[in-house]
């Protein structure tokens, strides 16, 4: 009898460990604070209008005093973005095909960086902007590893390093102004507005000029949607904007994580089970060889 109970307990302890890990999806409540992204602030980058003058890039750099961190990079550095460049124009050219691409934080609807950050230094604000708070940040760089667009940058050569990325000019927006890059652009390639408005506008431009555009608005659904959306004349893949599917990328990880921590059920249950296992093992017959041996 004792043997049976013990075996049972061992098995159930194992099972408990199991559910702790593959936590059932039904338990999960992915941390979506927002369901409707339409009224979020957004930015439409129409790459067919971009002439590659980099006015946006230098406006951003001087407005945020990023010159202090180093030189203007752009065409030739990998990724382009750096702690000194939150916004970068790069050129794509192959055969007759040519396009510029503006790289910056996408202010994702479901940002991986926010999901990753262990101390909520990165946060998705109610207006959709993904903000950074250096006083919370521990500098672990999980956000950099997690961001699908490889956006956050780290001050590698500082004793008190911060994460650097596009802030969507959160303070200017709060004061009713437009982002600096939008103000600086001479060709109206950058439009600022709400996400709904800009999606509509983007589709209108495609409908009006189907030859000029790829028939896709990048960021409408990619990786669960982004606040910074793109129109282009060449396929987005070539511009480094990969198709991530429509599922928000952090979903799987959040399901598992929330499953485990839902009211702390799983860890507490495991604690109880282990306690029971021990109690039952302590009660078995001392003359029973099996009590100690396998």
């Amino acid at each position: 009898m004792a043997m049976d109970r013990r075996t049972f307990l061992r098995v159930s302890a194992g099972a408990a460990g199991g559910c702790l890990l593959c936590a059932d999806a039904t338990l999960a409540s992915p941390g979506k604070k927002q369901q409707d992204f339409g009224s979020n602030v957004a930015m439409l980058n129409d790459l067919t209008r971009c002439v590659g003058c980099r006015a946006c890039q230098s406006a951003c750099k001087s407005y945020y005093d990023l010159d202090q961190y180093g030189p203007m990079e752009g065409l030739d550095t990998p990724g382009g973005l750096s702690e000194a460049n939150h916004c970068v124009i790069k050129e794509y050219k192959e055969g007759d095909e040519q396009s510029y691409i503006k790289r910056q934080c996408m202010h994702c609807n479901h940002p991986s960086c926010v999901s990753a950050c262990p101390v909520a230094a990165l946060e998705k604000q109610d207006n959709g902007v993904v903000t950074y708070d250096p006083d919370a940040c521990i500098g672990c760089r999980y956000c950099m590893v997690a961001c699908p667009f490889n956006v956050p940058r780290f001050e590698w050569n500082s004793a008190a390093p911060k994460i650097q990325k596009c802030t969507f000019c959160e303070e200017r927006i709060a004061a009713g102004e437009d982002p600096v890059c939008e103000d600086a652009c001479p060709t109206d390639a950058i439009t600022f507005g709400t996400r709904d408005e800009l999606l509509k506008e983007a589709h209108r431009r495609i409908a009006e000029n189907p030859d000029r555009y790829e028939n896709e608005v990048y960021g409408e659904t990619n990786a669960g949607g982004t606040s910074v959306i793109y129109l282009a004349g060449v396929s987005f893949d070539k511009l480094g904007l990969r198709d991530f599917g429509e599922e928000p990328l952090p979903e799987l990880a959040e399901k598992v994580q929330h499953g485990i921590f839902k009211f702390f059920v799983a860890p507490v249950a495991l604690f109880g089970l282990l306690g029971l296992t021990r109690a039952s093992n302590m009660r078995c017959d001392p003359d029973d060889e099996d009590c100690i041996e396998e």
């Binding site: 919370a136 760089r141 050569n157 495991l270 282990l274």
Partner: protein, 418 residues
């Protein structure tokens, strides 16, 4: 070696008083400090490496991480995270595995292994925490995950951070009896009287901490796998799977046993003691189930995801095979033979194979199979390697120091009597 050369310990008799007093296995296998010569050439070399590491870290803290590492925007995590932290924590799991075997599953015969495994775990976790400390940029804010207004339940790293901090506390508590035993052999002093007074209290609550330690360990060992669940877009399909947390937990448990085996053999050699062969081969036998199941889950997952053919069509497949042959297939095959299990030499090298395979696995998941964007590459600098080496050196030096000065290893007579 003869498997029955030592007295099978009597199971604990559960009279009421006994339960109240917490069964004192230390009495069955009394421990003693080794008190051998400390400053051997190996020990001195270890200390020297640590000294160089400290110098390098001075540079890192003054001039930033870029000064001595090759980390970049494409590889924000490098050798230190993959090895010092992720591998380190997995290898340190021996502490909770042996504690669970002895105190939860009542396999009292393993109790001589508990304290040394605990020392290894304590040193391993201390060094993993140190590895985090030197790797994070804003280290003066490293306590932020403790503050409730910073809590971020979606982040697996948040869970790992909290768990590692609390498990370090649990380990210190679990290690306390060793220190107290040492203090109680001191000359009469306030400290000695305090030690004697606190010992019974500690014994009463110890089991709670042991169970807590096991729970916390399951949580963060698996969460080290969950961390990579956010990286479906970067991690190679052969390694990315929703089962990562389970795989990480199982492999940590299995490797924990083999670390205990290697640790026990090395310490037998260092201190000129007999190898606890029957215990070690028993442990090796128990690891077969975890290793075998691990390999099966890994294979099933690939078949399920229809990625099985990838194993034969690219270099990644080859890397995968090397890893799974080392951490899994070959050891499972060899260990299933009594002859290999009971031969100290074979067991030693099989255990190293398991450890090597685990290291390769963690490197694959955290470094090699993580695809960089835009052509970034990473290879650690010599300085990164030296710092990691000094972290390993600290564990060896610390182990030798602690078992030399504190009653960690059991007295051999406890085993010799038939």
């Amino acid at each position: 070696m003869d498997e029955h050369s030592y007295r099978k310990p009597r199971p604990h008799l559960p009279t009421k008083e006994d339960i109240a007093q917490y069964e004192d296995v230390w009495e069955r296998f009394p421990r003693a400090p080794q008190e051998k010569k400390l400053w051997t050439p190996a020990f001195t070399t270890g200390v020297a490496i640590i000294a160089v590491g400290i110098l390098l870290l001075l540079i890192r803290f003054i001039f930033g991480l870029g000064s001595i590492t090759n980390l970049s925007s494409g590889f924000p995590w490098g050798l230190w995270i993959a090895f010092d932290v992720v591998v380190g924590i997995a290898l340190a799991s021996g502490g909770f595995v042996t504690a669970a075997l002895v105190y939860i599953f009542n396999l009292g015969k393993y109790s001589p292994l508990v304290r040394p495994a605990l020392v290894t775990a304590l040193l391993g976790y201390a060094m993993a925490a140190f590895g985090v400390f030197i790797d994070v940029g804003r280290w003066w804010q490293l306590y932020n995950p403790v503050l409730p207004w910073h809590w971020q339940g979606s982040s697996a790293l948040f869970e790992v951070a909290l768990c590692v901090m609390s498990y370090l506390l649990v380990l210190i508590i679990e290690f306390a009896p060793t220190v107290i035993d040492k203090l109680s052999t001191n000359k009469d002093s306030k400290l000695k009287r305090f030690a004697i007074r606190i010992r019974p209290i500690l014994e009463k609550v110890m089991i709670l901490f042991i169970i807590l330690g096991v729970v916390i360990s399951t949580m963060h060992q698996s969460s080290l796998g969950s961390i990579m669940l956010l990286m479906s877009h970067r991690l190679h399909a052969l390694w990315f799977t929703p089962w990562l947390p389970l795989l990480f937990l199982m492999s940590a448990i299995a490797v924990g046993m083999h670390v205990v085996i290697v640790e026990s053999m090395l310490s037998a050699k260092t201190f000129g003691r007999r190898i606890e062969m029957p215990l070690l081969s028993g442990l090796a036998k128990r690891s077969i189930a975890f290793l075998g199941l691990y390999v099966i889950i890994k294979l099933m997952d690939l078949i399920w995801a229809d990625e099985f053919t990838m194993l034969f069509t690219s270099w990644w497949g080859l890397l995968w095979w090397v890893e799974v042959l080392l951490f899994g297939m070959v050891p499972v095959f060899l260990l299933s033979f009594k002859a290999f299990r009971r031969d100290p030499r074979w067991l030693f090298w099989i255990s190293w194979m398991v450890i090597g395979g685990l290291i390769l696995n963690r490197f694959n998941v955290y470094l090699f199979a993580v695809q960089a964007y835009d052509g970034w590459t990473y290879f650690p600098t010599m300085w990164e390697v030296i710092v990691s080496a000094s972290i390993v050196a600290f564990i060896f030096v610390g182990y030798k120091y602690l078992s030399n000065k504190f009653p960690v290893l059991h007295k051999e007579e406890g085993l010799a009597k038939a």
